[in-house]
Structure formats: C-alpha cells, structure tokens
Amino acid sequence: MEVQREQLDSRTILRVSGELDFSNVDDLQEQIETQHTRTVEVDLSGLAFMDSSGMGMLLNVARKLASRGQVLSVTNIPVEIRESMALVGFFHILGDLFPESRAE
C-alpha cells in the first residue's frame, strides 16, 4: 500500500493505492488520524483490494474524526470494493458517518 498526501486549505487528501488489508490497516489509520484539517479525504481510486479490516478501520476512524469535529470523506471507491461495502450495509450509515462520501 502507498499513500500520497496533498494538503489544501481545510482539506487533506490521502490517495491510497495498492492493497489494504489486516496487515496494514493500522498504518493507514494512523496517517488519517494524524491529519488535523477540517476534512480528511481518503481517495481510493488506486486501491486494488480492501478486506473487511479496511472497511472496519474506515468506520472507526470516521467515528473518531467526527468526535473531534472533523469529517472523513471516502471518495473514488473502485466498483468491486464498493460492491463489497454495499453488501455489508456500509452505505446505510453513510449519512451519519460519511456526509461527504458518495455511494455512486
């Protein structure tokens, strides 16, 4: 997994590529949590694989950021990964936790 960081005014964009799974979720979680902009965008367009640990981490980190008054925005989710997330019911809670994320 590789992460490229881009800082805009009130938004940090983390572009994630490669594979996100049980073995490296903690790395990405730490990188997201250490951003202090109002919005942290996690751009998944380059992600080839994500397991349930990755989904769980995004949920947990979204809750944590929300409690600090920040917003996690997950964008450009590849179709296959989005389908897995949809099956689990991830997007049912989208409105609560991912106000800026889009299922489509």
Partner: protein, 262 residues
C-alpha cells in the same frame, strides 16, 4: 526461548479456539441432510458456522464472517455463537433473534471496533419452508426448479450501527431434491494464479452439477471445483460453506418428521 514457547502456546490456543468454533456434530433431520466445511487462510479467522434444531423441530443454520483475524476475531465469533445458541432456546422468530444479536453482539462488536456479517436460515421440515434473514452476508444459493439462484435481501451487518432495524426475513417453499448453500465471501473471492475470482457463477454451476448428490458430496464437489480453479494459489481469506439438501423420499421415509435432536 521463552518467546518461542509463548508463541507456540498462542498458536495452540488459536487452534483450540478454531476447534471450538467448528461444530462437532451437525444435527440430522429426517427430511434433510446438512454438512459444512471451513478452510482457514491463516491460523484462525473470523468465519463461523452453526446448525441447531430448535424446540419446535425447525432446523436453524447460521453463518457469520467477523471482521479481522486472530484471537480477537475468534473471541467475537465465540461470543456470537453463545448469543445465537442462547437466544434460540427461547426465540425462534427471525426478527426476535436478530434484535437480540444486534443488541448484545452488536455492542461487543462496536466496542471492539469490528462488525460481523451474519446470515440466518431456518427450515421447517413439516412444511418444508425456508426463511432467510441476511445481515450484510453473501446471499445464500438456492437450487430449485432446475436452477441455482441467489436468495435473501441485504441488511446491515451486526455491529455497524446501534439502532439498526432487523432485516426482513424472506421465505421460500422447498421441495425434495432442493439444495441451499451458505458460504462466506472467501469462497467466491478465491483467486486462481492469474488473479481471477472463483465468482458466483462458478459456484452456481458447481451446485447445478452436483444437486443429485448428498449434502456432503455436494460440499466436496464445490470444494473440488474450487481447488481445481485456484490451482494451489494461496488464499488470503477463510473459506467456509454449508450445504442443506432436502432429501428425496426414499421407500416410505417420513418427510414431515420434526423430531428434536437437541
């Protein structure tokens, strides 16, 4: 040396837990036979399968995939199993079971920062009726009328949110010879050396080709097709499946039996 011993005992604890999570003997019904298998990718994963006969005589099967791996996933799976088996002692309505699991296990999962997909099936042998409630799990496969199709709507996985409404149960009437397959995503997402997924269509074909067999043989036929596809490629996720086969009446065997097995 101390580290090596510690590691060894951790590993054997995990193997003990995996053993505990595997049902030792599956209930036998007069009108249906069932079998399952679980192939962990590492020492232990979060897949869990169970089958019980409830007080009414209905068969309940469930399959879950708990997020993560190792000891934490195993303990959460055990907790899910205890809750499921306990609630089944007094509640057989799907919505009642799901509400308890959402409240009790859902809270534990959230505390652990995890979630679990869960699919509940019940089969009433007298009426040969099947009910399915799916909380974010892969849709079960049903073979009837000559075709294998995916069944059961999507609900939210356990532990995702506090006030999650129980998914609505879907029902179907089964006939002798029909087959139901529960599985985890590790099965359909297993890859061959070039990186293709086994996929839902290959699973459908494997079931369609083996429906005439008994549950154990159908399970083996699916696994054999899977293994010839994956061709030795190491898999990154656990693979679990369970097969329910409605028996074809043999020489006056009573299909409507509802003898208790527990």
């Amino acid at each position: 040396m101390a580290t090596a011993v510690g590691f060894q005992s951790d590993l054997s604890t995990l193997q003990d837990l995996q053993d505990l999570l595997t049902p030792k003997c599956l209930p036998q019904l007069e009108g249906a036979d069932i079998d399952g298998a679980s192939i962990p990718a590492g020492a232990i994963g979060g897949d869990y399968f169970d089958a019980r006969v409830a007080r009414s005589g209905a068969l309940f099967m469930c399959m879950a995939d708990v997020m993560g791996k190792g000891l934490r996933a195993a303990l959460l799976s055990l907790s899910l199993r205890s809750a499921f088996r306990s609630v089944l002692c007094y509640e057989e309505r799907h919505c009642g079971i799901m509400n308890v699991l959402n409240q009790v296990v859902g809270e534990e999962l959230r505390r652990a920062g995890a979630f679990a997909t869960f699919c509940l099936l019940s089969f009433e042998p007298g009426a040969r009726s099947l009910a399915c409630t799916n909380a974010g799990h892969c849709p079960p496969l049903i073979y009837s009328n000559g075709h294998a199709t995916y069944f059961g709507g999507a609900g939210q996985a356990l532990g995702l949110s506090e006030n999650c409404p129980a998914p609505v149960a879907e029902t179907a009437r089964l006939a002798p010879g029909n087959v139901v397959v529960l599985y985890t995503d590790g099965l359909v997402e297993a890859r061959n050396p070039p990186g293709e997924k086994f996929g839902k269509e290959r699973l459908q074909h494997a079931v369609e080709e083996s429906v005439a067999l008994r549950a154990t043989e159908i399970r083996d036929a699916i696994l054999s097709r899977l293994f010839s596809f994956t061709d030795g490629q190491e898999q990154r996720d656990d693979i679990t499946l369970a097969v329910l086969k409605i028996k074809v009446k043999e020489g006056g065997a009573r299909l409507g039996g509802s003898e208790r097995a527990t």
